[in-house]
């Protein structure tokens, strides 16, 4: 009875097939202590922390870790930070990750991390997480990031380069000013930088928000069926950029969006 009743129903809608694979360490990700092996300033407000996780396994580009900090009264707070590095080529156990943290002055956790975490410290982390905003390097990809939203896209770009640029990939980064641009030495011919407030001398596009004119040349027509677009940034940026992609001909269901909350 149940079967015949269910067979008459229309299929449920879907956002596509699942590419997630259970990591070699098992599905359950436990808290672990990472050792801070490097710290680098990306901009006056963003800092990258390189960690060695003795019990970790390589992430997939686009994934994030949860970081937990504990105050001396025992109170704790957790926040998610995207991995900026390409996955460690070593299979693990034991893996390297780089987390890039934007300092939000009215936040609680990011100022704490910026002010207190130094090389040699230990940081409690759990991950990697994320099974949607991930790219395994095997499909054409259009990456669109605003501000700190470029962090998970940088993991994809770095991985793409290490794999030998096997598939078409383009990156668009929107930044307020040249000073606010993350990873400024790492952009090549595949990348388009859009400045919203102040552009460096000699930039032909006047400063302004992301628009269809900036995106349309990067979207080939027809779009390859297997291509995926990744949009990451503030809610306002992600909403605008994802709607623009649809407007210039990208299928809605091929756009994956990660909206960075104001959590600090």
């Amino acid at each position: 009875m149940t079967d015949s009743a269910q067979q008459d129903l229309p299929p449920l809608p879907t956002l596509g097939t699942v590419t997630r694979r259970v990591p070699p360490g098992g599905a359950r990700r436990m808290w672990q202590e990472g050792e801070v092996v490097g710290v680098r300033d990306e901009t006056p407000r963003a800092r990258s922390f390189q960690l060695w996780l003795p019990e970790g396994y390589p992430h997939v580009p686009g994934q994030h870790y949860v970081v937990r900090v504990t105050a001396d009264d025992g109170s704790q707070a957790e926040r998610s930070y995207s991995v900026a590095s390409a996955p460690d080529p070593e299979p693990g156990p034991g893996t390297h990750i780089e987390l890039t943290v934007e300092r939000l002055d009215d936040g609680a956790v990011s100022p704490f991390i910026h002010d207190n975490v130094r090389v040699g410290d230990r940081l409690e982390v759990r991950g990697p997480f994320g099974g949607w905003f991930v790219w395994r390097g095997d499909t054409p990809a259009l990456l669109v990031g605003g501000g700190s939203g470029v962090v998970p896209l940088m993991a994809m770009l770095r991985y793409w380069r290490r794999q030998g640029r096997r598939v078409p990939l383009a990156l668009v980064v929107s930044t307020r000013t040249p000073e606010d641009l993350y990873f400024k030495d790492e952009y090549g011919p595949e990348s388009t930088i859009l400045y919203t407030r102040t552009a460096p001398a000699g930039t032909s596009r006047p400063p302004g928000r992301i628009d269809a004119e900036a995106l349309a040349p990067l979207v080939s027509q027809p779009v390859p069926a297997e291509a995926v677009a990744y949009v990451c940034g503030s809610p306002g940026f992600a909403e605008a950029a994802s709607q623009l992609l649809v407007a210039v001909g990208v299928e809605r269901t091929t756009v994956r969006v990660e909206r960075f909350g104001p959590s600090g």
């Binding site: 129903l9 990700r29 001396d72 969006v257």
Partner: protein, 202 residues
């Protein structure tokens, strides 16, 4: 590490008892987290379908669902990304009243709530009946904004908020559990914030 900047998270150091473990209070803000492109959906084009293990499946339009007796939830919501919004309110209809109209078959054990975008999320049936779940179109007395799932979303406030499907298109009743969008991608099958059921295996 000095704890000074972390202290600010908890103000005086007193933790609000309404906050589940690992959560913090976002105050009057309301973060937007969505995995897909927001649909442009007009209220007059929106419908809700309830089908599956029911006596008679039914579709409601915007006008029709407004004839069901209205129901308001006042309380807290909790997102798996660790924010909670305390003392908020939503108005719409109780899922109980919709289920009463379609007649839930005794073999129904779970539901899948689905969005017009293709987003899905699974729930045991006991978590959407007896006053635990709503279909809502107002937030704090105003129309639900599109980025928060407007015109109409599901509301299951006692579970992490990914269970409260935005842009709700329907609820299907099943005799088994079937993982939804996030549940297939490493998140917990139930998502009880008081048990910190964030990820698979928690």
């Amino acid at each position: 590490m000095s704890p000074t900047s972390l202290r600010r998270l908890f103000g005086t150091g007193e933790r609000d008892p309404r906050l589940p473990p690992g959560q913090y209070d976002v105050g009057s803000t309301w973060p937007v987290l969505t995995a897909e492109v927001s649909p442009r959906l007009r209220a007059e084009d929106w419908t809700l379908r309830i089908d599956g293990l029911v006596d008679k499946g039914r579709t409601w339009t915007w006008d029709q669902i407004h004839k069901v007796s209205s129901s308001t939830y006042s309380g807290d919501i909790h997102c798996v990304t660790t924010w909670s919004k305390l003392g908020t309110s939503f108005t719409g209809v109780s899922v109980d009243d919709l289920f009463a109209e379609v007649g839930v078959r005794p073999e129904a054990t779970h539901v899948i709530a689905w969005s017009v975008t293709g987003y899905t999320t699974n729930l045991p049936i006991e978590h959407v009946i007896d006053g635990k779940a709503w279909i809502v179109w107002e937030h704090e007395g105003k129309p639900l904004p599109p980025e928060h799932g407007g015109p109409v979303r599901m509301l299951v406030p006692h579970l992490y908020f990914w269970k409260s499907a935005k842009w709700i298109g329907g609820i299907r009743l099943l005799d088994h559990d079937e993982p939804g969008f996030w549940e297939q991608r490493g998140y917990h099958m139930l998502g009880d914030p008081w048990l910190e059921q964030r990820y698979e295996g928690d």
